[in-house]
C-alpha cells in the first residue's frame, strides 16, 4: 500500500485461533457428565495445534457422546448409530488435508458398530477415535451396554447384568494392524489432554478409550475409582503419554510400559485388578489404507478422460 513505510507492509497477521473458534452451540450434556471434559480437551488440542476450523471434521454416530460435533465450531457429521467409522473412512479416503476426530460411545462402537470398529482399526487411516465409555446407554435411558460390569442393574437387566463386560482395549489390540491404543480418564484434565494430543499427532488410526462418568446412570461405577486412585495404573514410558509432575502425585500406582511391545500391551489391557491409563501400544509402521486411497487425487481431467477413453475403446467393434 502506498504511503506506508516499507516495514509496515507486513502480510496479514498470522491467523490465531482461540478456544472460541472451536466452540459451537453450548453443550447440552447433563451437568457433571464426563463428556464436557473431553470436549474441552479436544478444543484445547485444536487450539494448541492451531487446526483451521474449516479443515477440521468431527464425525460421530448416535448416543450422548455422539452429540459432540454440534458443540464444536468445525465441520461435523452426526451420523447413524454405529456408523461413524465408515463415514469417517470415506471422508479421509480422499481428503488427506483434513484433521479428523471420530467420537463414539460404548453402545455405538462396541455393540451396533462392532464390525466397523474392527475393520476401521485394520484400515488404519489417519483418524483420532475417542471412545467415550460410560458403561451404559444414556440417551435411550439406562440400558445395559457391552461394557457394563457384571451384576450392574439397568432397565434391560433389572436383576443385574449376567455377562462379563467386553474389554474394548483387548479387542482393539487383537485386531491386525492396530497402530495406537491408549486409555485415559475424564477426571484428570492434563492426562486427558496429553492423551488426545498424542493420539492426534499419531499418523494412523489412534484409538483412545476414555473412562467417562455418567452422573445420571453410572455415577457409582467410576466414583470409586475417582476416590481411590490406587485402582488406576499409570503407564509410564519415554515414548508414552507425556506426563506433568502433578500426575506423579495423583497416581500412586505407576508402571513402566514399553508401548512398542504388543504382547505386553495385550497383557496390560487384560488386567482386571486395575484400570491401566496411558499409552498401551503404538506402531508407526503399520500399513495405512488412506495412503492408497488418496493416490490419484492429482490426476487432471484430461488424464481421467484419457483413461476412460482407453477402457471404452477396448469394447469398440
Amino acid at each position: 500500500m502506498s504511503g506506508l513505510r516499507q516495514e509496515w507492509e507486513a502480510e496479514a497477521p498470522p491467523r490465531n485461533c482461540t478456544l472460541q473458534d472451536y466452540q459451537g452451540v453450548p453443550a447440552r450434556w447433563c451437568p457433571g457428565c464426563g463428556d464436557h471434559a473431553v470436549l474441552n480437551a479436544v478444543q484445547q488440542v485444536a487450539r494448541d495445534k492451531q487446526l483451521p476450523p474449516e479443515k477440521t471434521v468431527v464425525v460421530s454416530g448416535i448416543g450422548c457422546s455422539s452429540r459432540f460435533p454440534h458443540y464444536m465450531k468445525t465441520y461435523g457429521f452426526h451420523g447413524l448409530h454405529g456408523r461413524a467409522f465408515p463415514v469417517a473412512c470415506g471422508v479421509r479416503s480422499r481428503r488427506p488435508d483434513l484433521h479428523m476426530f471420530v467420537v463414539t460411545g460404548d453402545g455405538d462402537c462396541c455393540a451396533i458398530g462392532t464390525a466397523h470398529w474392527i475393520h476401521t482399526i485394520r484400515y488404519n487411516m489417519d483418524l483420532t477415535i475417542l471412545l467415550l465409555d460410560n458403561n451404559i446407554y444414556g440417551l435411550t435411558k439406562n440400558q445395559t451396554s457391552p461394557t457394563t460390569r457384571t451384576g450392574e442393574r439397568s432397565n434391560t437387566h433389572p436383576r443385574g447384568n449376567v455377562l462379563p463386560p467386553l474389554n474394548p482395549l483387548s479387542v482393539t489390540l487383537g485386531v491386525t494392524n492396530a497402530s495406537f491404543v491408549a486409555q485415559t480418564i475424564d477426571w484428570n484434565p492434563p492426562h486427558l489432554y496429553s492423551t488426545i494430543r498424542a493420539a492426534y499427532e499419531h499418523k494412523g488410526t489412534s484409538f483412545v478409550r476414555i473412562l467417562q462418568r455418567c452422573p445420571h446412570f453410572t455415577s457409582h461405577v467410576f466414583a470409586a475409582v475417582q476416590h481411590d486412585m490406587s485402582q488406576v495404573l499409570l503407564l509410564t514410558h519415554d515414548d508414552g503419554i507425556p506426563l506433568e509432575p502433578s500426575m506423579q502425585r495423583l497416581f500412586p500406582n505407576r508402571a513402566a510400559h514399553d508401548p512398542h511391545q504388543l504382547a505386553a500391551a495385550r497383557a496390560v489391557a487384560e488386567r482386571d485388578d486395575v484400570y491401566p491409563v496411558g499409552l498401551l501400544y503404538r506402531d508407526e509402521r503399520a500399513a495405512r489404507y488412506d495412503l492408497q486411497t488418496s493416490q490419484g487425487l492429482g490426476k487432471s481431467q484430461a488424464e481421467k478422460m484419457a483413461a476412460t477413453e482407453k477402457w471404452l475403446s477396448r469394447y469398440e467393434i
Binding site: P69, V91, W311
Partner: protein, 632 residues
C-alpha cells in the same frame, strides 16, 4: 420364432444358404470347456460384421459343477439380426452342445422348440463307460422325438488331431462350425484368435487356429444347413458390452472417483471392471466390510466434496436403507446402483427380477423422497450414470439407478459415447463460503440449496440425520419439521416439471396400452410390433423415470381402453383361489400408476427368473385384446 425366409440362393457346394433377418444361436458346455469364450468371440464377430446382437450368459450356480450335469451348463445365447436386436428372443435356431446333458438344461429352460438344429458331440457314443454311452443314445433318440434336427458331430475326435487336451480345444472347433454355418469371414476370425491368444505364445495360437480351421472345414464338407443374416456396416464407431460394463464405464465417464461396494451377485462384475480401470483414472474401488459400510463410506466421500457411487443388489439394498434415508434427510448427493435379482430374501441370486422398485422407493424410515431412474438398454446403463451424478448434485440427494440381471449380463452394440469434459467437473468449488448463507438455504419455491464442504472457510456446519433447520441445527419444532419435509419433497416436483412426457411406441390411442420399465423394453416392443403388424390396436410406453415419474401419464392413458403393465415381479393372478379385486396384490409399477392416476390399471407380471420372451407377451396381449373385444 419370427424368422422369415427371405431368399434362397445356391452355393458352390450342394448346400443352400437361407437368408434370414434374425437367428438365435446357443453354445453350451460343461463349466470350464470354454463355451462362453466361443460365444463371446462369435458375438464379437457378428457385431463387427454389422449385425445387431443381444447375448445372454448361461451361467451355472456353482463355480465347478460336476461334468455332464444339467445344473452345470455354461455358455452363451447369441441372437443376431439384420437390424438392432433388443432382447434375447424366444427359441434357439441352432444349439451347439458339447454333451447331451447340458443340452437338457436348455430344454428344461424352454430354450428349444421343434425344428431347432442341434449339434451334439458324438464322442460320448464311443465312451468306454457303458452308462454314458447308454445315456447318450437315449438322449439322441429323445431329441429326435422332440422334433429337433440332430447332427452328431465328431467334435472331440477331430480336436484330438490337434491337441492332447480336447476339453480345452472344443470351443474353437465349435467357433469354426458356427463361422462356416453363418458364412463369416474366416480371415477375420483368424486375426481375432491370434490376438486373443497372443499372450499364450505362438504354439497356442497355432493350435487354436488349427482347431478353428478343422471345425470350419468339417462343417463345409458335412453340413447342409447354412444361414446368412444380412448385415449393414455401422455408420459410426460402435461398442459392444454388457450392462455392468456399461455402468462401470459410465461411472468413469461421469467423473466418479470412488466406487464403494460389498460383493453381491449380480452387481459385482461392475466392480471387478472398475478395480483396475478406476485406478487409472485416479480413483479406486473400496471393498467395504459390509453393505452398510459401503454406502456409509460413499456418503463420507460425498460429504467431503468428492464423487462416489455404491453398487449393490436387493439384499444389499435392504441393508443400505438406513443410510439412504440419511442421504435424503441430510441431502447428500450420492449415486446408488441396484442391479436387481430375484427376491425376496436371497431369492434367485443370478436371475432377473424387477422386484426392488417399491423397496427402492419406500424402504427407509419416514418420508424419504428420492430420485429413481431405470435404464432400459445397455446404452442407457452408460448414460444414466452420467445423468444420475448430475441429478444427485443438482437436487442434492441420492439418485438410485435400477438395473437388473438381464441388463447386467446381456450384451448389445451401441454408438460409442463421446466423452465430455463437462461430465467430470468437480462437484463443488473450494472458494470461501459466504458465512451469512446457511448450509440449507432452501429456496422457498424449489427446495433447492447449495452445500458447503469441509475446507470451505465460513461454511462450518454439522450434518445431521436429526430434524434440523436451515442452519443444520437440531430442531424438533413442529413448524420447522413441516417445512423441511416440504422442502425435500418439493425437489421432486421441480424435477418432474423439467421432464418431458414419455413417447408412446405405436399409436397415441387404441385398445390396449402396455406400460413397462427397465430391461423389458425390447421384449415388450417386439411383442407390440408383431401384434400391430396383425392389425391390433395396441401400443406401449416405457418409463425411465420412476421417481418422480415422467409427466402427462394420465392424459396418455385416457386415450386407451385399457392400460396394462408388464413386469418381471410378482402379482396375484386375478383368477386364482381367494383372489378378489379387493385382495389381489398388484405388480409394483401398476400399484404406483394406479395411485398416481386413479385409473384402473391392470398388470400382467411373471417371475420366471428369466426375461419374459416376446412370444409369451404376445400370447398374453392376444388374450387381453380378445377380452376387450368381447366386452365391446
Amino acid at each position: 420364432m419370427s424368422t422369415t425366409m427371405a431368399d434362397l440362393e445356391a452355393t458352390p457346394s450342394a448346400s443352400t444358404v437361407r437368408v434370414v433377418d434374425q437367428h438365435i444361436v446357443e453354445i453350451v458346455s460343461d463349466s470350464g470347456e470354454g463355451a462362453q469364450t466361443c460365444g463371446q468371440m462369435f458375438a464379437d464377430l457378428v457385431a463387427r460384421n454389422g449385425n445387431g446382437i443381444w447375448t445372454v450368459e448361461i451361467i451355472p450356480a456353482e463355480i465347478e459343477p460336476p461334468s455332464r450335469s444339467r445344473a452345470g451348463a455354461s455358455g452363451n445365447r447369441i441372437r443376431l439380426g439384420s437390424n438392432p436386436v433388443t432382447n434375447a428372443g424366444d427359441h434357439a435356431d441352432i444349439v451347439v452342445a458339447l454333451n447331451e446333458q447340458v443340452l437338457y438344461s436348455r430344454i428344461d429352460a424352454g430354450a428349444l422348440h421343434p425344428g431347432t438344429i442341434v449339434f451334439v458331440d458324438r464322442t460320448w457314443a464311443e465312451h468306454p463307460d457303458d452308462e454314458i454311452r447308454r445315456r447318450y443314445q437315449e438322449a439322441i433318440e429323445d431329441f429326435r422325438r422332440r422334433g429337433y434336427t440332430v447332427i452328431e458331430a465328431p467334435i472331440e475326435a477331430q480336436c484330438r488331431q490337434h491337441t492332447d487336451d480336447p476339453r480345452k480345444g472344443k470351443n474353437m472347433w465349435a467357433l469354426g462350425l458356427l463361422c462356416a454355418i453363418y458364412d463369416l469371414d474366416a480371415a477375420t476370425v483368424r486375426e481375432n484368435i491370434s490376438r486373443r491368444f497372443s499372450r499364450k505364445g505362438d504354439a497356442a495360437i497355432e493350435k487354436n487356429l488349427a482347431l478353428f480351421a478343422d471345425g470350419y472345414d468339417w462343417t463345409l464338407a458335412n453340413v447342409q444347413q447354412r444361414f446368412r443374416v444380412p448385415a449393414h456396416k455401422h455408420a459410426q464407431p460402435m461398442v459392444v458390452m454388457n450392462g455392468n460394463q456399461a455402468l462401470a464405464l459410465g461411472i468413469m465417464a461421469a467423473g466418479i472417483e470412488v466406487c464403494s461396494m460389498y460383493p453381491i451377485t449380480p452387481a459385482t462384475s461392475a466392480s471387478h471392471f472398475l478395480a483396475n480401470a478406476l485406478q487409472e483414472a485416479g480413483g479406486f474401488v473400496h471393498q467395504a466390510e459390509d453393505e452398510i459400510a459401503a454406502i456409509g463410506f460413499a456418503i463420507g466421500c460425498s460429504y467431503a466434496g468428492k464423487t462416489a457411487v455404491t453398487i449393490t443388489s436387493g439384499p444389499g439394498l435392504a441393508l443400505k436403507t438406513e443410510f439412504l434415508g440419511y442421504a435424503v434427510m441430510a441431502e447428500v448427493p450420492l449415486v446408488v446402483i441396484v442391479v436387481q435379482r430375484g427376491g425376496p430374501s436371497t431369492g434367485l441370486p443370478t436371475k432377473i427380477e424387477q422386484g426392488d422398485l417399491l423397496a427402492a422407493l419406500y424402504a427407509s424410515p419416514g418420508d424419504s423422497p428420492k430420485i429413481i431412474i431405470a435404464p432400459a438398454t445397455i446404452e442407457e446403463c452408460f448414460h444414466f450414470v452420467v445423468t444420475a451424478r448430475r441429478l444427485a448434485e443438482d437436487f442434492r440427494g441420492p439418485v438410485m439407478i435400477l438395473s437388473d440381471a438381464n441388463l447386467a449380463t446381456g450384451q448389445q452394440p451401441f454408438p460409442k459415447p463421446q466423452l465430455q469434459s463437462s461430465w467430470l467437473a468437480p462437484p463443488v468449488e473450494q472458494a470461501a463460503w459466504d458465512q451469512s448463507v446457511p448450509p440449507f438455504a432452501w429456496d422457498p419455491e424449489t427446495g433447492l440449496s447449495r452445500r458447503p464442504i469441509p475446507g470451505q472457510r465460513g461454511g462450518e456446519y454439522v450434518l445431521t440425520g436429526l430434524a434440523h433447520d436451515e442452519a443444520s441445527h437440531v430442531a424438533y419444532e413442529s413448524a420447522i419439521n413441516q417445512k423441511s419435509m416440504e422442502m425435500r419433497s418439493r425437489k421432486l416436483a421441480v424435477l418432474k416439471s423439467a421432464l418431458h412426457p414419455p413417447q408412446v411406441h405405436g399409436s397415441a390411442e387404441g385398445d390396449l396400452l402396455v406400460v413397462g420399465w427397465g430391461s423389458t423394453l425390447g421384449c415388450i416392443e417386439e411383442a407390440v410390433d408383431q401384434l400391430r403388424g396383425e392389425g391390433h390396436r395396441v401400443s406401449s410406453l416405457h418409463l425411465r423415470f420412476l421417481s418422480p415419474m415422467e409427466p402427462g401419464l394420465k392424459k396418455i392413458f385416457e386415450r386407451f381402453r385399457k392400460v396394462l403393465t408388464v413386469e418381471v415381479n410378482y402379482s396375484d393372478p386375478a383368477d386364482a383361489a381367494f383372489i378378489t379385486p379387493e385382495s389381489r396384490r398388484y405388480s409394483q409399477l401398476s400399484q404406483l400408476l394406479r395411485s398416481q392416476t386413479l385409473i384402473d390399471i391392470d398388470c400382467w407380471s411373471q417371475v420366471p427368473g428369466s426375461p419374459i420372451p416376446p412370444s409369451r407377451i404376445v400370447a398374453e396381449l392376444r388374450r387381453r385384446l380378445e377380452m376387450l373385444r368381447q366386452e365391446s
